[in-house]
């Protein structure tokens, strides 16, 4: 099966990955072959089954709502591409 080119462009936008127009056909074909593999799932009878999202069927642990972490902003921002006054800088968002 193949995926339509505008689907690839839509996916690239959702995933925020720039894709050149001349790559679209190749990506579409490769994605298509993976989805062909994956389509085998449709033949399985899964009626009545729940999703297994945690292998141990565990549930989310909760903890007391108290502050436990310390302020480590300086250490965390030491590796950032661009910061100023403790803020992360990005290109202007609002005109």
């Amino acid at each position: 099966m193949s995926i339509e080119n505008n689907t690839i462009e839509n996916l690239a936008n959702l995933a925020r990955i720039a894709i050149d127009k001349d790559q679209v056909a190749e990506i579409s074909q490769r994605l298509g072959s993976v989805l062909q593999l994956v389509d085998q799932l449709q033949a399985a009878d899964t009626s009545g089954l729940t999703d297994l999202d945690h292998p141990m069927q565990g549930t989310q642990r909760l903890r007391e709502d108290t502050v436990t972490e310390t302020d480590q902003r300086e250490a965390f921002q030491a590796v950032a591409p661009d910061t100023e006054d403790g803020l992360y800088l990005v290109p202007k968002v609002i005109d």
Partner: protein, 483 residues
């Protein structure tokens, strides 16, 4: 010194046959001389290693040193190491120096182990051949025109080439077991939730698990003792007592029931591999074990289910790499959209981009139920197969891989051909069970691995079976030429 196991090195250090400093210098020298042939390490932490070795020597002299004190180790470059670059094999994190240690790293530091460096890996742990690393492919020490397996190819190659006595690694679809098999070393993936994932860069959160690689089962047991811990910072970590994994290695295998899944011995399995595995199973019978044919009927659905679930979870996990807080950022971004899109297009390699797109597709509106929802239900079927099998047997054994190490580029441009390399290992991750690979033969000069799958939290029994096999055979002692 490099031919000793970790267990032997522990004794040697305490008997003052050598010091940790001598041991560390020895391995660092070997890495300098030999690793250009294999490319197994991305970073070598020489100064830090020698400093840690000196501290370890003091602790050993004081007489109250933990078990692994002074033992050199290599960590897969997926574990965050404070102050030391952690790249995950990717351009995206080529400049990333974590401000904290992963829990696994903390555990080893507290034990006094000496970090030699960070090992090479498939980018973001996505691969079965270590061909997708930004830092170039790793070469199999048994045949340098062949892949070492992946994604933990660097750890496996470093152990096989005796550049380190042990290494940490991770396994999401087989990434410890498959390279262990292709490189002739022993590797173990624990039960999901046994080892903390805090600081272990996430690929697929419901499948990832960190584990040890070394040349023997005993060494893996010693490393697992250090890696396993309950960690409240990892909410998927299971709070359950941790046994001493090295305590019962010598138990008799009399009466052990070993399940042989018929679906793992069908077409696609290399004839030499099949013979090596069957000979190994006869060894188990000689030790008093009973072989039982079992069926895991939904095995054929495991690769399709995995290639929905893993990319879907990866697409979510990798959305954090956006050029804002850390890692790669593209030059001159025009606006925020451009920042995200070009950073990610330039920072991620092709296979990672492909999996993100597949994952995005499977999770997108209109497709979620048909793909991700369906795959998670199929996962129940796979888990049920194992639950039923473990009512009749204590362990399950099979080949680890369908064939020995293949040449670079052999899987060409067909991603599905590469994905089928994981056919015997993937179900274990989907079910969350523990699994390991032990060397069990050679085919055309290349190693073959026997896979052992255990029930939940039954790592001690797997290690016992592996240890006894390694008492009766010597495949794990073979050394590649020239190392």
């Amino acid at each position: 010194m490099h031919n000793h196991t970790i267990a032997e090195l522990i004794t040697g250090l305490r008997n003052k046959v050598f010091s940790s400093t001598e041991l560390t210098q020895h391995f660092l020298a070997r890495i300098k001389t030999l690793d250009s042939d294999f490319n197994s390490l991305i970073s070598v932490t020489e100064a830090q290693a020698l400093k840690a070795a000196a501290v370890a020597d003091q602790q050993l002299a004081a007489g109250d040193a933990p078990t692994l004190c002074g033992i050199p180790i290599v960590h897969k470059d997926i574990f965050c190491t404070q102050g030391v670059r952690t790249s995950c094999g990717s351009k995206m994190l080529d400049n990333f120096v974590p401000p904290y240690n992963a829990t696994v790293i903390e555990n080893f530091q507290n034990s006094g182990a000496v970090m030699l460096g960070k090992s090479n890996m498939d980018e973001f742990a996505m691969g079965s051949s270590n061909e997708t690393s930004f830092y170039g492919p790793v070469k199999n020490p048994w045949s340098t025109d062949c892949v070492p397996g992946g994604s933990s190819g660097g750890s496996a190659a470093a152990v096989a080439a005796r550049l380190t006595p042990g290494a940490t690694a991770t396994d999401t679809g087989g990434s410890i077991r498959q390279p262990a098999a292709l490189c002739g070393v022993t590797g173990l993936k624990p039960t999901y939730g046994r080892v903390s994932r805090w600081g272990m860069i996430a690929f697929a959160s419901s499948l990832d698990q960190g584990g040890p690689m070394a040349r023997t089962a005993e060494d893996c047991a010693l490393l697992l003792n250090c890696m396993a811990s309950y960690d409240h910072k990892d909410s998927t970590c299971i709070d359950r007592p941790i046994p001493n994994y090295a305590a019962n290695l010598g138990d008799s295998l009399q009466g052990l029931r070993i399940g042989i899944p018929k679906e793992y011995f069908s077409e696609g399995l290399n004839a030499g591999t099949q013979k090596a595995v069957q000979t190994s199973l006869s060894e188990y019978e000689k030790m008093g074990a009973k072989l039982v044919e079992i069926s895991l009927p939904n095995t054929g659905l495991s690769v399709p289910a995995y290639y929905v679930i893993a990319p879907a979870e990866a697409s979510a996990n990798l959305s954090r790499f956006d050029g804002v807080k850390y890692g790669y950022r593209c030059d001159n971004p025009q606006d925020l959209q451009d920042l995200y899109c070009r950073t990610r297009a330039e920072g991620f390699g092709d296979e990672v981009q492909r999996r993100i797109l597949i994952g995005t597709y499977c999770l997108s509106a209109g497709y979620y139920d048909a793909y991700y929802g369906k795959a998670q239900q199929v996962r129940q079927l796979i888990r049920q197969d194992f639950e039923q099998a473990f009512e009749q047997v204590d362990l399950i054994m099979s080949p680890t891989c369908p064939s020995p190490a293949f040449k670079f580029d052999a899987k060409g441009n067909d991603p599905v051909a590469m994905y089928l390399e994981d056919i015997y290992t993937i179900s274990t991750n989907l079910a969350g069970l523990p699994g390991m690979s032990v060397p069990c033969g050679m085919v055309d000069g290349k190693p073959v691995g026997l896979q052992i799958i255990g029930n939940y939290f039954d790592e001690a029994r797997m290690l016992n079976a592996a240890y006894q096999f390694q008492q009766a055979t010597d495949w794990h002692q073979l050394t590649p030429e020239g190392v």
